[in-house]
């Protein structure tokens, strides 16, 4: 049985930490945006002609000339009641845009997260099991190359091979920036998902594969592995029963910890493949001074990355029987 009180205490502690993190993130981004030349009124008007009265009205609305503390308090007050404001470039509520874009990105991230996790783990186990053979060397070389190559470059390479030379997938476009999902058919969308998901997957494989390999080799030199061998266990059975059992949890934990890298990768890959996700929205919002959207995205990305860390923490602290059952024994 899990100790409920222990978990509650743990979650409470995590919540407080998260609140602090959010406040810091919000303050930082607010200050940065305030110092930058971004002007929401110009962004809103963009190419339209507007009368000076109209401009003054808009400036009052966004509080352009207010001191930063007042702006911040206003904005925070709105956020607490769930009002993130209206996106200037999409001209719909920020939450609506984020909901849509995040869903698209989540599908992309989740797909590549699962594929890279499973594939990376399998490759890592294989390399560790076949340590120092050509299989191991091939896996290592592959991982080192991927780890040292810039994400952008790999993404471009994938575009060149699969879209330009082989013509299997659209180069990009198809789903114009700002188009909402109801305008795009499922197949269209799937076609646009495959290449970015593939790119993110092959990129994500590297760290998990190398980690799994090293962990397995470490486990293979433990006393309990040696004793299992002495009891006559051997080969794949031995790896399965005592190797994988002992590296699975750390590997899954690492995969959850990699949410931040996954998110970073997604932003870049979405750019290259013109995938209409949160990364692309963030870049557009930044380039076109969409302050409310930018701040909204910052908050939700922080929540997303934090969730990954939280799950990793929970796995680490409550799933391992040594720690779990250790609570009651003593």
């Amino acid at each position: 049985m899990l100790d409920k009180q222990k978990i509650l205490k743990f979650l409470g502690y995590k919540l407080v930490r998260f609140a602090i993190l959010l406040v810091v993130v919000i303050l930082l981004s607010f200050i940065l945006i305030d110092m930058s030349p971004i002007n929401p009124v110009n962004a809103y008007i963009s190419n339209m002609v507007a009368s000076p009265e109209k401009i003054a009205q808009l400036e009052a609305y966004w509080g352009v000339n207010q001191p930063i503390t007042e702006k911040l308090l206003n904005w925070l007050g709105n956020i607490i009641v769930g009002d993130f404001g209206t996106s200037l470039i999409y001209r719909t509520p920020v939450l609506h845009v984020i909901g849509e874009k995040f869903t698209a990105s989540l599908i992309l991230m989740l797909t590549s997260w699962v594929i890279s996790g499973v594939l990376g783990f399998a490759l890592g186990v294989l390399a560790g099991f076949k340590r120092d053979t050509w299989v191991d060397k091939a896996v290592k070389v592959y991982c080192y190359i991927l780890q040292s190559a810039p994400t952008f470059w790999i993404a471009l390479l994938v575009v060149m091979v699969f879209s330009v030379y082989l013509g299997l997938f659209p180069v990009s476009g198809g789903v114009p920036i700002g188009a909402l999902s109801q305008d795009v058919s499922f197949w269209d969308w799937l076609r646009h998902l495959i290449l970015p998901a593939f790119t993110l997957s092959i990129l994500g494989v590297a760290s998990i594969a190398l980690y799994t390999r090293d962990k397995l080799i470490e486990v293979m030199s433990t006393d309990y592995f040696l004793f299992a061998k002495a009891r006559g266990e051997d080969g794949w059975t031995l790896i399965k029963r005592h190797g994988i059992r002992n590296i699975l949890l750390p590997a899954i934990t690492l995969q959850f910890l990699s949410f931040s890298e996954l998110f970073g990768g997604t932003v870049l890959v979405e750019q290259v493949f013109m995938y209409p996700g949160i990364g692309q929205a963030a870049v557009s919002a930044g380039l076109r001074s969409d302050v409310p959207l930018l701040l909204g995205i910052v908050i939700f990305s922080a929540i997303f990355v934090y969730c990954g860390n939280l799950i990793a923490d929970i796995l680490y602290n409550f799933v391992d029987p040594r720690i779990r059952e250790g609570e009651e024994n003593g």
Binding site: F227, A230, G232, R245, N246, E325
Partner: protein, 314 residues
């Protein structure tokens, strides 16, 4: 009594890289010869780090992959090749490891000691057998479902011993089964070993605890700097030690508390600093002329006893 295993002229070394690409052979065990009969307990006595565990691993064929092994082993008349070791380990040859760290921390005790089962029938049979042996060693049914960290010291000890017996082994290698135990548990563990020997199992007891060795073993092999310098009967460790042959063994005996703690000056040369001649030369009070030029062989005195010293050669 008939010969169960004969280990002759075993050497174990590691290839080490010193200063870049310069290789060096680090010899841990040199020229080790040992035999164990059915129903006999032979103790290997050596200080820690002297390569005792490596000897156990060599017999089981589970040496680390950077280790080099040379020499011969014969098990029940068959040359003990790596293939044969693989076949025998966990069946005819079993290991009792030193501590609970040798159990998989994430697997329930009964699941790991029965091993992989091909089907349910096999699993049922193995579980029944495991339960029976655990019962015999006073391990209640709850223990089956425990994880290693939940075992108390004594329970862990008994789990490790009963694990070895699960396959009806002919040869049991107990690697330091007593250190860290209280007197009662030591006695209990030694009794288990005696029981095995009474069931005609050959036992190799690896230890640095001379008391434990003297209590149960029929014969004792003394390790010095990676060499077996003497194989003596346990009964030779009595009286004034007059039946002990090697000067080092004699000094060991004199250093025992009830013999007045008479310590010999100097230290055991470590791997790598062992002289050309007799490894005991530095400390030996009876040096002969060519002791530092030539290395003595492990010389048979009779059927059971051996000594590596020029005084007894020829």
């Amino acid at each position: 009594m008939s010969d169960l295993i004969n280990v002759s002229n075993i050497s174990i070394s590691f290839t080490q890289y010193v200063q870049g690409l310069n290789q060096r052979e680090l010899k841990v065990i040199t020229d080790l010869t040992l035999d164990i009969n059915e129903g006999e307990i032979v103790a290997v006595l050596g200080s820690s780090g002297s390569g005792k565990s490596l000897l156990a691993h060599a017999i089981l064929g589970i040496l680390p992959h950077n280790a080099n092994l040379s020499g011969n082993m014969v098990y029940k008349g068959d040359v003990l090749t790596e293939e044969l070791k693989k076949e025998l380990r966990g069946k005819e040859i079993a290991l009792i490891p030193q501590s609970v760290n040798f159990l998989d921390p994430l697997m329930k005790v009964s699941d790991q000691v029965i091993g992989e089962c091909a089907d349910e029938a096999e699993e049922k049979e193995k579980r029944a057998k495991q339960r029976a042996i655990f019962e015999k060693y006073g391990l209640s049914e709850e223990v089956d479902d425990m994880y290693p960290f939940q075992l108390s010291g004594g329970m862990a000890r008994r789990v490790l011993v009963s694990t070895a017996l699960l396959s009806n082994p002919k040869l049991v290698i107990a690697d330091e089964p007593t250190p860290g135990l209280d007197e009662k548990s030591v006695e209990e563990t030694l009794n288990h070993l005696r029981q095995m020997a009474a069931d005609n199992v050959g036992v190799l007891l690896i230890t640095h605890d001379i008391d434990a060795a003297l209590k149960v073993a029929n014969r004792i092999a003394i390790f010095y700097s990676g060499y077996v310098i003497e194989v003596a009967n346990a009964s030779d460790f009595s009286g004034e030690g007059e039946n002990l042959l090697h000067p080092y063994t004699k000094s060991l005996y004199k250093a025992l508390p009830h013999n007045g703690f008479e310590l010999t000056k100097g230290h055991q040369p470590l791997h790598g600093e062992i002289p050309v001649g007799c490894p005991y030369y530095e400390r030996c009070p009876h040096k002969l002329e060519n002791c530092d030029k030539e290395r003595p062989f492990l010389f048979p005195i009779d059927e059971n006893k051996r000594v590596r010293c020029f005084k007894y050669e020829g």
